[in-house]
Every structure is written in C-alpha cells, then in structure tokens.
C-alpha cells in the first residue's frame, strides 16, 4: 500500500464525508431544537435530486437556476412537513413524533414511486463538474474540489448564523431549554421553521452533489445516506453543528478506508456506519463534541 | 429489642462542584418514626435517593441491619427491605389502583415465566397472595372503593395514599416517606397523621420521613434529624429540636 493509494482513498473519503456532513448538519440542528430525529430528512435529498433532474432533463433550464429552485423548494418542503406533521405533536411523547417522522419518510418515498416511478433515472452532470486533476497516479476529480469547497463555505455560513444572528441564538437557546425560551416570548414556531429551512436547504445541496457523484436517482436513494448522516450527527455529538461536520467527515473516511484496507469487506460497507453508531451510543453517547444526551 | 435497622455513616453526595449532602449520620431503630427536616434544598431528598440507590453516594455508608447496602442498585435495596415514596408522586398512571400495588409484589413472586404462560404451578396461588395483600393494604388506606380506577384519575391526596400502599406491598423493613403530606390542608394532614399512626402500630412499621409541615413532623416523629445546606445540624426529640437555636437560625436565616 503506497502513499498514492492512501491519498487517493483520503480524497474519496473526504468527498463522501462532506456529503454526509451536509446532511448531518440539518439532522443535528432539528434534533437540537425540537428533539426529533427527522426520519424524513434523508428523503429531502431525494426530492432535491428529482427536482434537479426534472429541471435539467425535462425543462432544460440552466443548471444554476435548477439548483437554486431545488434548494428553495426543498427548504419549503421542510417547513411544510414540520407544520403539517410535526407541529401538531409538539407536546406529545417523543415516540409519537418519531413514528410520524417514519410515516412522513415512507410517504415521500412512495409518493416518489407513484409520481415518478421506481426505475432509477440518470442524473446529468453539468460540464463544470466533470473532469479531474491528475498528479502522477493521483486522481483529484473537480467534483471533489467543488464538494469540499461548497461544504466548507456552507459550514462556515451555518456557524456564523448560529453564533452571530438573533435567530441563531434563539436556536441555541431552544436546544438548551425549550420551555423557558417559549415562555420568554420568543416566536418559537418561526425559529423552528427557520431551522427546518436551513437544514433542508443543506440537505438539498447534499442531495444534488450526491447525484453528481452517484448519478442514479430513485425514490429510495435518500434512505441509507440519511441514516448514515444521522450516525454522523450522533458520532459528532447530536446538537452540535461542528460535531455533525466532523462526524460526517470521520464516517466518510472510515467507510472508504475500511473497504480499501479490506476489499473483501466491501459488501459490509453499509454496516460500518451502524457499527460505529452502536459503539458510540454504548461508550460515549454524547458523541465527540456533544453535550448531555436528553433522557 | 431496639436494634438499629437503618443506619448511614458519613453519607456524602457531591454533584459536580456542589456538596448536596455532607457527612450524614442517620439512625433509625426498629419501630421508630424518624423525621428528616431542613430548609428547602437542604439535601433531604438527596439523602433518601442515596439510601435507596436512586443515586450513588460519593462517600459514606448505608447499612441495613448488618448489611452494607451502599451504592447497591435500587431494585436490590428494595428487595432487601427499604421501600419509599417520592416527593413528586410517581405512580403508574395508566395502571389501575390495584395493579399499582400488585406490581410491588413482583419481587416476591416465585413462579417462572413458563409457569405464568402455562398457568401452572405457583401461578394461581402467588397471584392470589399478591392480590389479596394488595386489597388488604388498599382497604387499610381507605382506597377500596377505587380499586379498579386508573391511578391518574385519583385526586391528589388519595394518590399519595396509593403510593404508600404500593410501598407497603414490598413488606419493607423500613419505609421512607418523602413529603407525604405535601399539598394537604390541615384537616387532611391530621387525618394522615392518624392514618400513619394506625399503620405504624398495625403493621409494626419503622418509618423515616421528610416533610416541611413542622406541626405534622413534631406530632408523629419520635426523633428528628435536621440538616441545612447538606450538613446535619441537630438530632433529638421534637421538644429538643423545637428549642434548638441552630435549627431556629437555619429556618429563619441569620437575620433573626
């Protein structure tokens, strides 16, 4: 195993990790504010991908426009899901909300089948994201650079929002002590909606880039990435945005490197994430950067 | 025959940087009713929690008879014979009154799962024993008329009594009551004091209790321990405590 091979795997791992991070951030923000594991979050990825697909392939719009519309619509969908399905259960036992989230997830997936059909469609990759840099044997795809760059930018943006804006402060306050913040006259619903928009938009970006990396679009494409992104959020410390980013990166690297070192384990690739999840929840449930787990 | 049933030695509980309880030596002899009092936040419930295994003490010992039960898990301590009620009522809301009491009989069950499922062996006799005793206790507590009602449907005062009936179903050596008359008016409190005395003599109970109602505590307790900010400051009969300067100062504040 030479340096070039390791570096190559690192590139793949970081790229995959960034995608997980983008999705994980949304998960962790929503959980931090309303203590809900939004099962449907991964499916937002799928929605964004389909919007992208339709925009480019059916309506032949220029891709920057399509990307923008996709992110916007996915953000709106996030709010609609919260208002429609989660808000009525704000004061119910958490398990009820979890069950509802599972229901929403399945609803989205099967609506995908009903409206678009179960057969995978091929996502067109705009020319800008094609091609790669070559150093000796090392292949550095432009797409990876894009993904890394956009993820970094968005991460910084989100951190700025959380730590430097009013709404961000409200989000952090809500994640500490929901009831008190509510009693202090903060418009909790607006803050929650904002959280959903932010998280869903990031998931949309993650979804579009996911499709550019893995160009098949089908209704269940968001399930496993979504679950893995949740694992990443737990790994990094649920409730912490930087933790989610870190967790995503680590998870992506772990997945790629484990398979690279032991190719015969490639079939068990998906199990890596869940094994990490179980290990984390048993040994350090608060995750790498997290705070106390709520009971 | 006045052996010490429950004893703590230098029981200390530290949360993070806060010393919730510091060096508590409590002694409850057979048949006594001992009160644990102190201003709010003094560490009384913490003491009960540490004794019953709900939280782990940071240092010190808890002894039941000759048994060292320090830091044992709560179910084991309950099985050894310490039963308690909670400051905030913790009943099984969705279960009926009688089911609440019968659950406490679980640790005395002698039939296996197999016998339960097949309906064989000691299943029938044990079920009868547990439900009979539950009915008896509920009758003692005056709850026979609501035996099939949901625990959550009971008014506050009766819920408190149900909690005690449940604790009694453990056949405890020592019964610890955490604020049993909280929220009761003077008439209810007097009624409860009478009930407690009846239970005490009829069931030969040994009781430790926490409460803020001074009249009630002075009335029923043989001995009283006073703690303030986690530190024990007095120990004696109700007359002695009533006259103790340190106790008065603790309750009224140093501005007195």
């Amino acid at each position: 195993m030479d340096l070039a091979f390791v570096l190559q795997q690192l590139i793949f791992g970081v790229t995959l990790g960034c995608l997980y991070s983008l999705i994980a951030i949304g998960y962790t923000m929503v959980y931090g504010v309303i203590r809900l594991i939004n099962f449907a979050h991964g499916d937002l990825l799928m929605v964004a991908a389909y919007i992208g697909f339709f925009g480019i392939v059916i309506f032949h719009l220029p891709w920057p426009v399509v990307f923008g519309i996709s992110i916007l619509l996915t953000g709106v969908l996030g709010i609609l899901i919260d208002r429609g399905a989660y808000k009525p259960l704000r004061n119910s036992p958490r398990i009820s909300a979890l069950i509802t989230a599972i229901g929403v997830s399945f609803l989205l997936e099967n609506l995908g089948i009903v409206i678009i059909g179960g057969r995978p469609k091929s996502f067109p990759r705009p020319a800008l994201f094609e091609g790669d840099l070559r150093f000796d044997q090392l292949i550095l795809p432009y797409l990876s650079l894009w993904i890394l760059g956009i993820t970094a930018v968005l991460l910084i943006l989100v951190l700025l929002v959380i730590h430097r804006t009013q709404v961000g402060m409200a989000m952090r306050a809500l994640s500490r002590d929901f009831e008190t913040v509510r009693l202090m006259g903060v418009d909790v619903d607006r803050v929650i909606s904002f959280t959903f928009v932010l998280g869903s938009s990031l998931a949309a970006v993650g979804g579009i880039f996911w499709c550019m990396k893995y160009p098949a679009v089908e209704p269940f494409m968001g399930v496993i990435p979504g679950l893995k992104a949740f694992v990443a959020a737990v790994l990094g410390g649920i409730g912490s945005v930087s933790g989610a980013a870190l967790g995503g990166l680590l998870l992506g690297l772990a997945e790629v490197l484990i398979v690279a070192i032991q190719p015969e384990w490639s079939g068990y690739r998906d199990a890596v994430a869940f094994t990490i999840l179980i290990a984390v929840l048993l040994t350090r449930p608060t995750g790498i950067m997290g705070e106390e787990l709520p009971k | 025959m006045n052996e010490t049933l429950l004893r703590t030695e230098e029981l200390t509980v530290v949360f993070g940087g806060l010393v919730a309880l510091s060096g508590l030596d409590l002694e409850i002899r057979r048949g006594e009713i001992v009160g644990l009092i102190g201003p709010n936040g003094a560490g009384k419930t913490t003491a009960f929690n540490a004794i019953t295994g709900v939280i782990q003490p940071s240092s010190g010992k808890v002894l039941l008879g000759e048994d060292d039960i320090t830091a044992r898990p709560a179910p084991k301590i309950a099985a050894k014979g310490i039963a308690r009620t909670f400051q905030q009522i913790r009943l099984y809301d969705d279960l009926t009154v009688i089911e609440n009491v019968m659950v406490a009989g679980h640790s005395s069950v002698r039939y296996t799962v197999f016998e339960a499922v097949m309906g064989l062996g000691r299943f029938t006799s044990d079920e009868k024993r547990i439900s009979d005793y539950a009915e008896y206790l509920l009758d003692l507590m005056g709850l026979s008329d609501v035996i099939a009602a949901k625990a959550s449907a009971l008014p506050y005062g009766r819920q408190r009594k149900l909690e005690i009936a449940r604790a009694l179903a453990l056949h405890p050596t020592v019964l610890l009551l955490d604020e049993p008359v909280a929220g009761m008016n003077p008439k209810e409190t007097k009624g409860f004091a009478d009930l407690l005395r009846r239970l005490h003599s009829e069931l030969n109970l040994t009781i430790g209790l926490i409460d803020h109602d001074m009249g009630f505590v002075m009335n029923v307790c043989d001995k009283i321990k006073v703690i303030d900010h986690g530190i024990p400051i007095a120990w004696g009969t109700s007359e002695e405590i009533r006259a103790d300067q340190k106790v008065i100062a603790a309750y009224l504040g140093t501005a007195a």
């Binding site: 259960l89 958490r94 089948i113 998906d270 048993l282 | 009943l91 009926t96 679980h106 035996i147 179903a169």
Partner: protein, 363 residues
Amino acid sequence: MRVVQAVTGSYRAHVTRDRILTAAAVGLLLAFLWYADRTFSAYSIRILNTVAIFSIVAVTYNLINGVTGQFSLGPNAFIAVGSYTSALLTLSPQEKVGSFIIDPLIWPLSVISVSFPVSLIAAGVAAGLVAFLMSVPVFRTRGDYLAIVTLGFGEVMQVITNNAVSVTNGPLGLKGLYPYTTLWWSWGLCIFTVICTVRLVNSSYGRAMKAVREDETAAEAMGIDAFWTKTLAFTFSAFFAGVGGGLLAHLITTISPSLFTFFLTFNLLIIIVVGGLGSTTGALIGAILFAWGGEALRVVEEPFTLFGRDFPGVPGMRMVIFSAILILMMIFARSGIMSRREFSWQAAIDLGSALLARIRRTG
C-alpha cells in the same frame, strides 16, 4: 372478595364463564378454518395465512413496544433470523447443494435436515438468542436512541444476509422450500402465541413490564429489575418473530434478504399503532385490517373501472395511503383503535346488552 368483581376480570371474576366462551370462540375459529381450507381459493387461503403470521409477530412486537414501552425498530432482523434458520433446516442436503451455487453452505447446516416443527422451534430459539445477546448493548440506551440502535441492528442484519453467502446464499436467497405452512399451522401457532402473550401480560411479569413503561425509576425503587424485565419482553418477542419468520418462509417458499428490510418493520409498526400501542387485542385487529386493507387497496394499484370510467393502476399508491393513515392517526388518534384496552368477555357482553337495550327502546 366482592371488591374484586370490579377489577378487570382477567384472573377472577367469572373465570369459568370466560373460559367456556373463549373455548367456544376458538372452536368457532377452527370450524371456520376447516371450512376455509376446503372451500376457499388458494389466494384467500394465502391471505388467511398471512393474517395469522402477521398476528403472531404483531402481538409480540406490541409486547416490547407497547407493553414494556421500549421502542424497537428491528423486528425485521428477528423475522429474518427465524426465516433463514427454519429454511436452512428443512431443506435437504441435496437441495442445499443445488441452491448454494456461489459458495457452498457451511457445515453443519449443509448436512442437517429436520422436520418442520423442529425447524420452527429452532427458528424461535435462534431469534430469541440473538435478541438476548443484543439486550446488553441495546438497553443501555433509551427512547429515540433505543429506536435507532435497534434500527441499526436491523440494517446490519440486512447487510449480513446479503453478504454471508456461505450461510444465507446472499441475494439469491433460498428457493424451493416445501409449503409446510397450512392454515392449521399458522392459526394454531397464532392462537398459541396469543394465549402465551395474554397470560404473560396478565402475570406479575406483565405488570412489571407495564411499570417499567410507566415509570422506570419508580419501578426500580419498588424492586423491579428493569433490565431483566426489558430483556424478557425483548427475547419473548424475538422468539415469536422468529417462529413467524419460519412460517412465512414455508408459506411463500422463497426467501431473500429483500423480504426483511425496514419496510417489514414499518408494516408491523402501522399494525400495532393503528390497533393501539399496548393492546394485544389491538395488534390482532391491526393485523387483520392490514392484511384485508392491503388486499382491498391492491385494487388501487391495478387498472380498475369505476362508474364506467377506466382508471390506470398506480403502483405504490397503497403505501402512500398507509403512510398517510399512519401520520393522520398519530396526529388525531394517537392511541389507535383499542388504545391500551383489551378485549374481555365482560366488556363484550356489556356492549351487546347496551346495544340490545338501545334497539328495544327505539324499536
């Protein structure tokens, strides 16, 4: 004892009357099955078998989720373990050689072949054992996290069944199983499961489970070992999920990993939630509604004619409707049909008398 008449009549009031009524009901059911076995189409018999199998799994899934309040999302893993165990044990060595074309099946499974009932017991034991071993890590978590951890185990089982080719034959699955599952097996075991579960719930162990659900701290202070209580429910539930899996394998005669995905868990979830989380009766009702509703809704997925107009079938519409039902139920009728109530002959008699009285008054 007169006070006890008011108690939910599970163990004392009118015991003999209830026993006779239950025996009569079971007798009626068996008579119906005998009739169905002779006269119903293969399709309908298949539905009846499915109802029974789903009932077995749902009733015990309700035990861990609803009665003990430990929300597990991994029953698909236990059904898979049971299915594969049972299938691998009933296939003959020659059949196994024929199926396992990529990697031969490991010893001793390659040479063992047992009867169907033994394979079902083995299926249950295997699944129960997996659950028992999982208990220690799983019950260190609570609430949402318990759900996710069990979901994770379910996914890991998926990956394992797809990849452990020398044990499960991977994605190819196992074919050619002998259709041992008849109405007698599925419903017989269903009745057995229901009886066992009801008895367990009505025993002190069941009360302990409910106590753990209601207030774990208080339960522990009253002498209940929460961990063992949860483990009991978990293992019991897994055992019967395994048995259900074995029955399933020998009903549809072909199994593969894609049968045991989270989708299966989702279906079970709908069943127990719609029926009423915490109610064994509810789980049964849910299973019946689900199987019947599923078939009835199949209509929507094939082209059909309504009022003289042709509608194209919409595949996937069934699940859209089920998902919508689940969401609406959680928002408007969280307790489901039965809530936590159970069927009792007394309640049925009371209901019947009330209805009769009303009819007489208005008639």
